[in-house]
């Protein structure tokens, strides 16, 4: 069945899938990569974003517009969650990491159970002109929903890269990730900066959640599928690198797509963690980490 045309298609769809992986991981790249917060609830917050998008879509909102509209609300939610995490765990010292992990697992379960109570366990989907249709291009039919994921990933990566390097708060976030005591000595409040950064990561998750429900149906426990994959992308990229996250997502997506086409779908998940192990063996700081 193998042909050059099939390989080209595999690469094309790998790029689209990779951008989707990058888009769902980029919020985690800020919260875990830059802030060192063990944010295992990141996929659950994203699924929460999907359900909020679903709700707004019932009132006629386009899913992408709904996702953008949710960013400020999720920003505030993220700030609140971080403040609670800081006061109850991070402030108390060295064991914060392990206990924080339990805290974020708890948050993920609360979100999952809350969604079940409110929406039930059925799958939810949204309708839009770009869902279920495709673009015909040079003999290829490319689903519009994957093109949306592609666009969202590029926009988020560009926006976060510019924000983190060109704005005062962005540079402060990078500074707090590199040397928190130094920042404190300069009179800045690292907790407030981290709070804003966590809010930013959560706000981005709202848009990623909108994209999640555009790409496929969601159900409350969907977050479990994404914990491993999102952490894999972030660690593979090198903690805290936005462009690295996009590149890692692309590498993963293309590798999975080619492996699926040439060797079978069952081997595709092995690719993610196999690549991670190889990269960490050669470059422990990740592909784009310093």
């Amino acid at each position: 069945l193998f042909s050059f045309e099939l390989l080209l298609e595999a690469i094309l769809f790998g790029v689209l899938l990779g951008c989707f992986y990058a888009a769902v991981s980029i919020g985690l790249s800020v919260s875990f990569g830059l802030l060192d917060v063990p944010h295992v609830a990141h996929p659950a917050i994203m699924v929460f974003g999907s359900y909020c998008t679903y709700l707004l879509a019932q009132y006629g909102f386009d899913p992408i517009v709904a996702g953008i509209a949710l960013i400020p609300l999720f920003f505030l939610l993220g700030m609140g969650v971080y403040r609670f995490y800081y006061e109850t765990f991070e402030k108390r010292g060295t064991e914060a990491g392990v206990r924080g992990l339990a805290f974020f697992f708890g948050i993920a379960f609360i979100i999952e159970v809350g969604l079940i109570l409110v929406f039930g366990v059925d799958q939810r989907m949204v309708q839009a002109p770009y869902i279920g249709t495709s673009l015909s291009l040079a003999g290829y039919r490319i689903p519009f929903r994957l093109l949306v994921a592609f666009g969202v990933a590029l926009v988020l990566t560009a926006a976060l890269t510019i924000y983190l390097s060109k704005t005062f708060l962005g540079r402060a976030i990078k500074a707090v990730a590199q040397d928190e005591p130094a920042l404190r000595l300069m009179g800045a409040n690292p907790v407030r900066i981290k709070q804003s950064a966590f809010g930013l990561a959560t706000g981005v998750s709202a848009l990623a959640g909108a994209m999640l429900i555009i790409v496929g149906p969601v159900e409350p426990s969907l977050d479990r599928l994404y914990i491993g994959r999102t952490f894999c992308v972030v660690v593979l990229a090198g903690l805290g690198s936005m462009t690295g996250t996009l590149a890692a997502g692309l590498i993963l997506g293309i590798a999975e797509s080619i492996v699926l086409t040439l060797f079978g779908a069952s081997w595709a998940p092995v690719v993610a963690f196999g690549l991670l192990l190889v990269v960490l063996g050669i470059r422990p700081q990740g592909l784009f980490g310093r």
Partner: protein, 426 residues
């Protein structure tokens, strides 16, 4: 000595009284405990997927079983005892079910067991029930007793052996003159059991396999696989998928197209029977030929009344509002237990198993007889083609015209429209 004798004689009276009192107390306690035991409820235990991929179906099925418990208790219970229903959520996680069933047996001390909905959560508890020699009412499992060979297993599902699920679909393809087939199957217990049976059947039918792909359960997008199927140009595409995957596959087919060669598409897609999924996919379903347990138009005594009662409760419970697929069969599990216990006046697992083996069960999903392997003696897997489905309309699915039954012959309501691309427009 005399005074001693007198003393002894004087003590014998109270001793007798003490003994009498003790005997009377013991007898009273025995009687009390017997009455108490008679008043204790009959405990029926199970795990049910209420979250995870099978959660949507599991919750609807659970509502039907709760309705049976309420109905039977309203009639005075079984053997003069109320029925108590103990259920845990297994999260569609096969790793959890052995622990849950051990707890049901050792801590909750249940009298009777019902298996969770689905093959994947049920398979791991089979060694446990065989080891303890317990009666287990199966719940839409597929081939879980094939190797275990437990003689007290009674699976309430309209299929039996590996071929029973596939022969209606493959037979329909053969009538269309199909020569080649593609398989797309989830890499897990249910789908693989089904795929093995289907591959065997296809081989016997002389169909050439041109694409054969297993995919892992966490697959995000199926575009790549649909493209590969299109490139292989099969006549039949047999898909064996779980709900999340089924939705993603239908979407990918809608976007990319599966090619003009395909005469028949579908077969074993779990999820396309659930109302929320059918409603969401709407017109994308048209043309797909898929298995079902029951569709409107098939008449069984009592099923319409049950579904009318179920529909009212489903709205409150926020579960599948139509409930065609699982709820009637789960209610029927309760009916079978009820019939066996009432007829044998026993809760003994062997006595009940013997009764279930030897007698015809009268249920709202029709009369059921079990074969020696604990599966239905005669399979009744329905293969129906979606036709004329429109977007965003739940009530349309009550119309028998939306599901044209192709198989089995006794329920047939029309002929298949092929090729698939032509049928999609109908």
């Amino acid at each position: 000595m005399a005074p001693r004798l007198v003393e002894t004689t004087q003590e014998e009276g109270p001793m007798k009284l003490h003994r009498l009192f003790a005997i009377a107390t013991a007898a009273a306690m025995l009687l009390f405990s017997a009455v108490a035991a008679a008043q204790q409820p009959i405990k029926v235990g199970m795990s049910m997927p209420q979250t995870g991929p099978l959660g949507a179906g599991g919750k609807a099925a659970l509502l039907a079983l709760q309705m049976w418990v309420e109905d039977v208790n309203a009639k005075g219970g079984l053997l003069g005892r109320k029925v108590e229903f103990i259920v845990y959520d297994d999260q569609t996680n096969p790793a959890l079910t052995p622990g849950i069933y051990t707890k049901l047996l050792d801590v909750d001390k249940v009298d009777l067991l019902i298996a969770p909905y689905g093959t994947v959560p049920t398979a791991p508890i089979m060694p446990l029930v065989k080891q303890r020699d317990l009666l287990l009412m199966g719940n839409f499992s597929f081939q879980v007793n094939h190797t275990v060979k437990h003689d007290k297993w009674f699976n309430n599902s309209p299929w039996n052996d590996a071929a029973s699920w596939s022969n209606g679909f493959i037979g329909t393809g053969q009538k269309l003159g199909a020569k080649t087939i593609a398989f797309l199957a989830a890499d897990q217990e249910f789908a693989q059991n089904l795929a093995n049976g289907a591959r065997e059947l296809a081989k016997k039918a002389g169909l050439q396999t041109v694409y054969n792909q297993n995919y892992p359960p966490a697959t995000v997008d199926f575009s790549t696989m649909i493209r590969a199927i299109r490139a292989a140009k099969p006549d039949i595409v047999f898909v064996m998928s779980y709900p999340n995957d089924s939705v993603a596959i239908v979407r990918a087919v809608n976007e990319i197209g599966v090619g003009d060669s395909v005469k028949l598409f579908g077969g074993g897609m779990v999820g396309l029977q659930f109302t929320p999924i059918m409603e969401s996919l709407g017109s994308s379903l048209n043309g797909i030929v898929n298995y079902n347990s029951w569709v409107p138009g098939i008449k069984y005594p009592g099923i319409d009344e049950f579904l009318a009662r179920y529909a009212k409760r489903a709205v409150e419970a926020k579960v599948d509002p139509l409930g065609f697929y699982l709820p009637p069969f789960n209610y029927a599990i309760g009916q079978m237990l009820e019939q066996a216990i009432t007829a044998t006046k026993s809760l003994d697992q062997k006595v009940l198993a013997d009764y279930l083996h030897k007698n015809e069960m009268k249920t709202i999903v029709g009369p059921i007889r079990f074969g020696p392997d604990g599966e239905w003696a005669t399979a009744r897997v329905v293969q129906a083609q979606f036709r004329g489905v429109v977007d965003k309309n739940v009530e349309q699915f009550r119309d028998p015209k939306k599901f044209v039954v192709l198989y089995p012959e006794q329920f047939k309501t029309g002929d298949v429209i092929a090729p698939f691309e032509k049928a999609r427009g109908k």
